[in-house]
Symmetry: C3
Subunit: 303 residues, 3 copies
């Protein structure tokens, strides 16, 4: 009985891992990615005034993961742009989301139930990208653990890891925050996923790749759909990290480093704040919440 | 009769497309490029205080197009620097323009009639670079339309597309403006030219490459010489774009996006201003409309 | 007699150039590099709050030279990360320096006599890297003088040349200063060393590579140990440059360029100041001279 279920799970996973991504899943990936671009402040204004820049940003949102992976592995940065069909599909989505009359397309895909489906399908693509990226890196570096993890990570995180430069393209520059300082859930999950797939690829994780893809996809889909439905920015890893980080990295004595804190304040965010203040939290929230006014206050305070 | 003229045009174009660029045309390219570097505020001061940084900037101005194209196509970034003669020639030009006693060289090449000749010859090099770049990209990606266009574009635009980082090398950082947000005439022309040459390369444009090079060179030379002679910053494409852009990209309803505008203000330009200010609009309009004077006023205001 | 000593020197140099770098010398390289990271303001705070970002910075400090050289020569950026043992060793050093209980490890390696030994060994690695880098570049470009010099330079300077982006990773952004504008002694020495090794490689310098490595290593070790022991930031090249630079680059007439200075002010550092202020000079001096306090004042003024 159990054997059977195991079998069926294995077969299910195998057939699932063979579902072609193009065009349906890729389409959802493009839609969700460009939706997030449209959510960015000033993105609509940008699209109307500087369509070329907006289109380039949209392409980075859709294909950033390939660009970064190609950069790491020394392949042509625009290699993926030779897939005309994908680029044309992404461009069509970009045009519809930004310039469709009456914002019809945007309103449709923003309708929560529809959006959740697209979000779920995007996670399917993300997990598959991680797996493919690690397989590709393993092909180049058979024992390059770090290479595999890095490649899988950038394949999963995509534009997030180059957000500073994607913003620069739009004329925005926020050096005090980047995705590595304040990892979002997908970035963290991609990192952990990359580690898992690397272990699997190097035979340390005794499961088939298909099963791992299936299980990790289920995990990502459920998490991301839940987070999107509840408009939550928390991450299921917080609890775990709350236990592990203090043990691993919390051993430094705050007392020792007051000077450093201040240094960090001057160098970092906007000069940050005094000792003892929950600085990381503030910094993390700053992007979403701080009004320009309060930011100026912070700067003054730092002076 | 007409046949004859057609023939002669074809032959003229063919022989024109075979004129060697090195050294005379390349020399003009270097002279004009480094002239524009010297026009940059603080460039002379930089050359005296930090000659290495100034030399590197000059090299970027002369060879930026090769560096960018190599980056896109995954070739060694400094591949072109193995042409010692070109690099030495560019270095000599850099030295003469910045350090020639009494600024003699600078004054000579700045003399308008002389300068116009150099500007004209620079455009000849630009067009040839676009054609070569697209031919090169086509060799790697036979059906990579976007790859070809991108390669031709960067080969034509050169340092302009990496101006932010060229400025950073000089200790200047202006995130609110980049060449893709505010395209200058050469950048736009290179983009359109890259599209034309890509169409020609893929047999969609029924003209010989030599003729296209000839015609497009004539267009670029006449435009650029006229613009330089009249110190004008307008572009012949403005009229065309004035008709097309509203049709293609003007459909978004301004009303929808007031919030976005402010968002843009916060993200963009000067780190934004209090809510309610029409800042994003200003930022967007700045380059087209603001005179240097009013820009200074803005800077003061921001101080 | 002299012949003998020459012989013995040659043999000594040869055997010295064959000393394996891994693990002892590499270990010292990692320790000193990550020590400098810990000296950065806010680095300790960063390590506690954002270990991933801190680890990435540490890796850049240890392997930045390989990343830059790979970028220039068009090889995979993370090629060197396939050396698991090196990466693990560097990670262990990073962990011990930042998270060792009671900062024991840090206090030990900071003990001046110990530190001086590590600093000396780091210079051994630096010189070897320059030599290897130039040999590698020469293998690709037999007559590419500039390619060889550039490769040797980045191999010797390492993370310093990408400090702006290493800071960005930590959420710090200081566009007004970069290593090329204000070269530190190691960066300058690497540049001069790269030139020497290039001359040797191309048979213009009639010495054996082993001897050059030996002599240049002795020079670097003695200089760096002296500078570290005396906490001095001056450089032995200052005198030489004091003589050469005015002759080569000092010929520009200050009078001509007042306008440029102001321009520089507008472009540079803090988005500039009112006309008439000697801002360009300030910008140039800022790094060396401005105390944190006066910098704060400037920031206020900018608000």
């Amino acid at each position: 009985m159990e054997l059977l279920s195991a079998l069926s799970l294995g077969e299910l996973a195998l057939s699932f891992s063979r579902v072609p991504l193009f065009p349906v899943f890729d389409l959802s990936y493009f839609i969700v990615s460009i939706l997030y671009l449209k959510y960015e402040p000033g993105a609509v204004e940008l699209a109307r005034r500087h369509p070329v820049a907006s289109w380039l940003c949209a392409m980075l949102h859709c294909f950033g993961s390939y660009i970064l992976a190609d950069l790491l592995l020394g392949e042509p940065l625009i290699d993926y742009f030779s897939n005309n069909s994908s680029v044309l599909l992404a461009s069509a989505v970009w045009y519809l989301i930004f310039f469709c009359p009456l914002d019809l397309f945007y309103k449709c895909v923003c309708f929560l139930p529809v959006k959740l489906i697209f979000v779920a399908m995007k996670e399917v693509v993300r997990v598959r990208k991680i797996a493919v990226g690690i397989h590709h890196a393993h092909h180049h570096y058979h024992h390059g653990w770090f290479v595999m993890i890095a490649t899988g990570w950038v394949k999963g995180s995509g534009v997030a890891l180059m957000s500073n430069f994607e913003q620069l393209l739009r004329g925005v520059w926020k050096p005090e925050a980047n995705e590595i300082l304040h990892m979002s859930f997908p970035t963290k999950a991609s990192l952990y996923g990359a580690i898992l797939f690397t272990l699997q690829q190097t035979r340390w994780l005794p499961v088939s790749k298909a099963s791992l893809i299936f299980i990790f996809t289920m995990f990502m889909v459920s998490c991301k759909v839940f987070l999107t439905a509840t408009h939550s920015h928390s991450s299921p890893f917080d609890v775990l990290e709350g236990y592990i980080c203090p043990v691993l990295f919390g051993t430094a004595l705050a007392g020792d480093h007051h000077h450093d804190n201040h240094g960090g304040a001057h160098g970092g965010a906007h000069g940050g704040s005094g000792p003892g203040s929950p600085h990381a939290a503030m910094a993390a929230k700053s992007k979403e919440e701080l009004s320009e006014g309060s930011r100026k206050k912070k700067t003054k305070k730092a002076d």
